[in-house]
């Protein structure tokens, strides 16, 4: 099997500034200002062609940052991501222009992805068909409901035929029928040997669809393996976490935050 995504010692550091002055000084002066915050620290994993991998973890554990970095939207601070082919991210608010109609957005989005005029013309009917927008396709996107928006975004992304697909909570907005349709489409992708990453809080969808899972906790990989191992462990953790008193929860989060803002060299395993 060939590797399709190789992530090595990936670290993403943000800076938290207490004031605009601090931010300015950090940009212009060589000395570092502001408090560092590690959204991801020393994350490494590999994905093979045809893998479907779910990212699980509580809010703020770095799932979306990781998907954005794999999709190439956000640059990493250190470490590397190697991707064989083109990656595409599907998120709920997938960069649609509110002033333009659905049809115009399709062309705009495809243009930005680098497709030729002929290719766009050929793709357009399929996308419109998949999005099921009816007459709304010629209305400005600002008049769409959130479900319609995500349907359009999803339809565009899957038809642009990426090699690596990252789905960040995009299915949770659509209704069940559309969700089924998307899963079907993704099944088809899987059979064609494409790599997919799936970010969702719906354990049910994840179990149905993914084979492997990566559990992120506070910016680090806590567990990695087949879905059968990771999900029960994660569910157990969630149960424990829920059982904690509010004070314990707070303590737990504070400890984690402290660790994430520590400046230290990544330990290479």
């Amino acid at each position: 099997m060939t590797k399709s995504v190789v992530v090595k010692n990936l670290t993403k550091r943000y800076k938290l500034y207490s004031s605009n002055k601090e931010k300015m000084m950090d940009i212009f002066l060589p000395k570092s200002y502001g408090e560092p915050f590690y959204a991801l620290r020393d994350v490494s994993f590999e994905a093979e062609k045809g893998d479907t991998i779910g990212f699980v973890g509580i809010n703020g554990s770095g799932k979306s940052t990781l998907s954005n970095i794999i999709a190439g939207i956000v640059p990493e601070t250190s470490g590397s991501v190697e991707i064989d082919g083109q990656a595409s991210l599907i998120a709920v608010a997938a960069g649609l222009n509110n002033q333009l109609t659905g049809r115009e957005n399709i062309e705009l989005k495809c243009l930005m992805l680098g497709f030729s005029k002929e290719k766009i013309k050929a793709l357009e009917p399929d996308i419109i068909d998949f999005a099921e927008l009816g007459k709304f396709i010629d209305q400005p996107v600002k008049s769409y409901s959130s479900g319609m928006r995500s349907r359009l975004g999803f339809a565009i992304s899957v038809h642009t035929d990426p090699d690596v697909l990252i789905i960040d909570e995009a299915l949770s907005v659509g209704d069940k029928a559309f969700g089924e349709k998307c899963l079907e489409k993704m099944q088809e992708f899987k059979e064609r040997g494409k790599t997919m990453f799936f970010v969702s809080h719906s354990i049910g969808q994840m179990k149905k669809f993914c084979e492997k899972a990566i559990w992120l906790e506070f910016g680090k990989v806590k567990m990695e393996g087949s879905i059968k191992e990771v999900i029960p462990a994660y569910e157990k953790f969630m149960d424990d976490y829920k059982k904690m008193s509010n004070k314990e929860k707070k303590q737990y989060r504070e400890d984690a935050f402290k660790e994430r803002s520590e400046e230290k060299e990544a330990v290479h395993s």
């Binding site: 300015m24 940009i27 999709a71 190439g72 939207i73 956000v74 640059p75 595409s88 991210l89 997938a94 960069g95 222009n97 002033q99 333009l100 115009e104 062309e107 705009l108 243009l111 930005m112 992805l113 680098g114 030729s116 005029k117 400005p140």
Partner: protein, 272 residues
């Protein structure tokens, strides 16, 4: 140097993309207005009328005489110069904020970000061409006929576009990193209208003042269009030194802009 060729190659490779995006830009800008794209002409027309009222009518400017011999009424003289200003002004203010306002739309890293300022500028060019056409038609009725010097227009258009692009590479990078810069650009542009010899002729002033004013690269562009539209002469030949100076400035801007753009573009998203 490497960045400069990289940026220029991106423009060439993405020519179709830039064209289509410019068309959409124009469309989405006027979608909400009932008069639609007509505003691209109405807006300059209203401003020109005001400038004529204040400077031409209230202050009663005398006709302008050039050394070359031509004498022109204030209104056609002003119109010939200010027409291109309605391309320069929005190109600079929108070009400067082009990257940080559109970065979210792009959502993929290998999108050639240097195409963003260029398509924004190109979208301003289309109404400009229309405005220039209207100006030429008006001139036919004012006794300033089509002349051989019109051949300069394409040259000055290319020079203007290249200059605006180079400048926008610099301003769009800085204003993405430091948002305040956009405010500065907008204020400066309002000032620039009055300190560039657009609404007033340079002829009456002393040599030193004239020299300093001519260092403003926009003087070269405005006066070039004026010579062409009024049929005064071959501006870029008659003012050879100014031509050299203008292109030198342009190259410096392009070089600096490309360097800054390529150096920072990977991190633009972190500044949002």
């Amino acid at each position: 140097m490497v960045s400069m060729f990289k940026v220029l190659k991106e423009q060439y490779d993405n020519f179709h993309l830039i064209n289509r995006l410019a068309a959409y830009e124009l469309k989405s800008a006027n979608n909400n207005n009932y008069l639609g794209s007509l505003w691209e002409l109405l807006n300059p027309a209203i401003q020109i009328a005001i400038y004529w009222f204040v400077f031409g009518f209230v202050q009663g400017r005398k006709p302008i005489t050039y050394d070359g011999g031509g004498t022109y009424e204030y209104f056609p003289w002003m119109l010939a110069g200010i027409a291109i200003w309605f391309f320069i002004y929005p190109s600079i203010t929108h070009g400067s904020k082009s990257i940080y306002t559109r970065l979210k739309m792009v959502s993929r890293m290998n999108f050639p970000l240097s195409a963003i300022p260029s398509y924004v500028i190109l979208s301003k060019l289309m109404p400009q061409l229309l405005l220039m056409l209207v100006t030429i038609i008006i001139f036919q009725f004012m006794g300033i006929p089509i002349n051989i010097y019109y051949l300069q227009i394409p040259y000055f258009l290319v020079a203007t576009i290249l200059f605006l692009f180079s400048l926008s590479l610099i301003t769009s990078t800085i204003s993405t990193i430091v948002r305040d810069f956009q405010m500065l650009v907008q204020s400066l542009m309002r000032v620039l209208l009055y300190i560039t010899p657009i609404l007033w002729p340079l002829g009456h002033f002393g040599d030193t003042f004239q020299f300093v004013m001519k260092l403003n690269p926009f003087y070269y562009l405005i006066e070039g269009f004026r010579y062409a539209l009024l049929g005064e002469g071959w501006f870029f030949i008659e003012h050879g030194w100014l031509t050299l100076y203008f292109w030198a400035i342009l190259l410096v801007f392009l070089f600096l802009g490309s360097y800054l753009h390529v150096r920072f573009r990977r991190h633009f998203i972190d500044f949002l």
